[in-house]
Amino acid sequence: MPAATRYLGKPLKRKEDPRLIQGLAHYVDDIVLPGLHHAAILRSPYAHAQIRSVDVSKAQSAPGVVLVLTGADLRGSIGAVPCAAQIPDMKAAPRPVLAHDRVRFVGEGVAVVVATDRYAARDAIDLIEVDYEPLTPVVDPEKALEKGSTVLYDGYKDNVAYRWELEGGDLKAAFKKADKVIKQRLVNQRLIPVAMETRGVVAEYKPGERQLTLWSSTQIPHLLRTQIASMLDVPEHSVRVITPEVGGGFGSKLNVYVEEALLGYLAMRLGKPVKWIETRRENMQGTTHGRDQIDDVEVAFKRDGTILGLRIHVIADLGAYYQLLTPLIPTLTGLMASGCYKIPAIRTEIIGVLTNKMSTDAYRGAGRPEATYLVERALDLVAAELKNDPADLRRKNFPKLEDFPYATPTGIIYDSANYPRSLDLALKMSDYKKLRQEQAKARKQGRCVGIGLSTYVEICAMGPSSAMPAGGWESATVRIEPSGMINILTGASPHGQGQETSFAQLGAEILGLEPDDVNVIHGDTSIVPYGIGTFGSRGTAVGGVAAYQSLMKLREKLAALAGFLLGEDPSKLVFADMKIFSKFQPKKSLAFGEVVAAAYSAKTLPPNMEPGLDATSFYEPKNFTFPFGAHVCVVEIDTETGDVRLIKYVAVDDCGNVLNPLLVEGQVHGGIVQAFGQAMLEEAVYDEQGQLITGELMDYAIPRASDMPWMETGRTVTPSPVNPLGVKGVGEAGTIGATPALANAVADALAPFGVRHVDMPFKRERIWKLMQKGSRRAK
């Protein structure tokens, strides 16, 4: 990061906000085109059934209806949903755009109606008659593995999608050496991402230009374009994807969805623009879910608290089909199973299982929250067993500062860290010692208070291309327009993260301008160079670095030109206050705009210099980055009802250098509250028949303002050596760090009831039952 910090590291107000707070921004559903048609999709009410027949005749003749198509009609016309994850010996589970023979989860599309307005399209859905032959649904992933279970796909002998193993270190020796081994089964329940804006697509085809334009609420416009072109079998350059404002993603819009291809197809077939906006119910049923692992953990340790080894067995419920990264997500759990500890030996075995449910895929943290959760719970189980303070036990197992870059037995290299520093700060901010004293007092009064701690590390800035299915680089073009205004075109397409501001800060800092002089353009594949997308906390740590590189290229060119015009050594030039001037003779100075004008007028250029000011960079990171932190929280449980109340939260996060602390704080807050959702409230519940019974926000609770106490946030700064900005990424940190802290607090609160572990979500009844059992035992 440049030494000067006129704008970098400053809490600038966001540039994107004025349009958002005035209702002037445009999300997909706000786009209206002349002659716009509307699509609605009929979805299966069965989790598993054979389609005998579909009768669309009544729907076809309903008022306003233009076209009705079934899965059978589309067979062979559109490719299946792409899956970018390749795991050896993985079974295929491709999802057709509409089901044609068998439906495999509640909410799978069976037919589509296009009508002249939204209401007519919806009405016609009710007129389609489908004859289903119900099949036994496979819902529980453990039962799905049993012999004799119904199999989802003909031709397969079981529902195992794949088996994956990762072992590092000598696990046998570790367990042999151990004084003790603790086993625990941990369930990381299935979650629904619930971005406030559901998904939506508008597709328009211009036959003359042979141009298909898709507006989609997505995190990955370029990947989407490539995949849609392939699914529709049209040349990639005839597809343009535009992401307008995106109302939250959290990983659920990091995908290629059937509706995106379907709408493209419909627009091409009809020659009319068509819009489809997902209902909330469709969103709950048919946008990717997250987590859903059963983790059996064995931890081997010495009496003095040294952790020697971890054996992890994961059953990952993948759902019925693969979406873009479905099979890959659980493997990240294996990669990050070391946590921020020096654990000599780790073995992770994963069984991916196919069930009659919606696919799981990336959801804020994607595999890493599961890893952190299981490691942090394991540490607390050991601490409880040894009657050690959880903070002391953690400190004992941290790698030393001189161990960095630290290679884990899972095969990755942590770039930089100072775990004790963040832990110390969190303990200090929370007044941890006093909390423990107060807890002891509360317990004497019969109150049920728990303190939870987590120290975490996560993997960000996804990532080196060698580790990423579609490449791990990011692109940016910087264009300095003839008037001196800057456009940064980034391949990373943000959706709430605030890069229009932080990248403008970067541009202003490097070129000595004001942030208002810098405009950030993203999310249009026809304008912006190819990018990978915004996910895995890579927007700034990869996308930002690409922008930095392009800015530096232009700075160099401007310096060369200004040096030529001023007769000064370019390396002695300073960019500040909208001027370029000599460091030692400030009078040798040109206005920024003058130099830019010279580059465009091209009358006096140094020999061999091209006119214009335009630079594109593709930044390939040499490693991931590894943000870390320490969280402390306090919960109190109502002993009569089991109601868990969070009463204190302290988070210390280290995401390396920071471009805009306001944005970082916002990401941390949001992440913690999403973790609170998983810990306390959220669970996608399918009944035994595979019906999603948390199918609306009336039954799927997400956190409200009134659920949360004040969160105190602190930060340490350990720059990453991986990239020139020293940034690490922060989009998922809060979620990764907070979930185990909350779980540890609840387990700690329940310890007097003889409870060692309780699975999330900590719903009142579950806690109440444990307390009842515990009190009875005590009596």
Binding site: R14, D17, D29, D30, R118, E665, H669, V673, A705, M708
Partner: protein, 164 residues
């Protein structure tokens, strides 16, 4: 079947022939083109579709447009006309959300701002628990709410100083 309605939206009068089943939120968005009001959950839980109907917040996904006939409606687009602004065309609550980073993806924001406006009208000096309680009908998945709470506190201060 169609019905006739007359409404005043953001100070402008409209007369429309509509289907009686047309939801107010669709009327505002699709008929009048006021797309600042968003649809989040459709079950009157998330508050993204909040508008002011005769000065009171309602969830416009659970009101028929015909029910609003004869009423005065304010959407996010018309909010700034409701209060003295700082010359930047923003209502103090809008300014406060900007100042305190009370939004990320922005989708819940129009509803959240209108709910805050109603809160401050009823209670110009709310405590943090009062703010959290008053906004419990508005869901936000990005911010973790803390900056929103700070924004409402900031707006309260600002509105008091402007009245003086």
């Amino acid at each position: 079947m169609s019905a006739e309605i007359q409404v005043r939206v953001n100070g402008k009068s409209y007369e429309s022939q509509i289907e009686p089943r047309l939801l107010l939120v669709h009327y505002l968005r699709d008929v009048l083109g006021l797309t600042g009001t968003h649809i989040g959950c459709e079950t009157s839980l998330c508050g993204a579709c909040t508008v002011l109907l005769d000065g009171k917040t309602v969830k416009s996904c659970t009101v028929l447009a015909v029910q609003a006939s004869g009423s005065e409606i304010t959407t996010i687009e018309g909010l700034s006309a409701q209060a003295p602004t700082n010359g930047n065309g923003l209502h103090p609550v809008q300014e406060a959300f900007w100042e305190k980073h009370g939004l990320q993806c922005g989708y819940c924001t129009p509803g959240m701002i209108l709910a805050s406006v109603e809160l401050l009208r009823a209670n110009p000096n709310p405590s943090q628990p009062e703010i959290r309680h008053a906004l419990s009908g508005n869901l936000c998945r990005c911010t973790g709410y803390q900056h929103i709470v700070q924004a409402v506190e900031f707006a309260a201060k600002k509105m008091k100083s402007r009245k003086r």
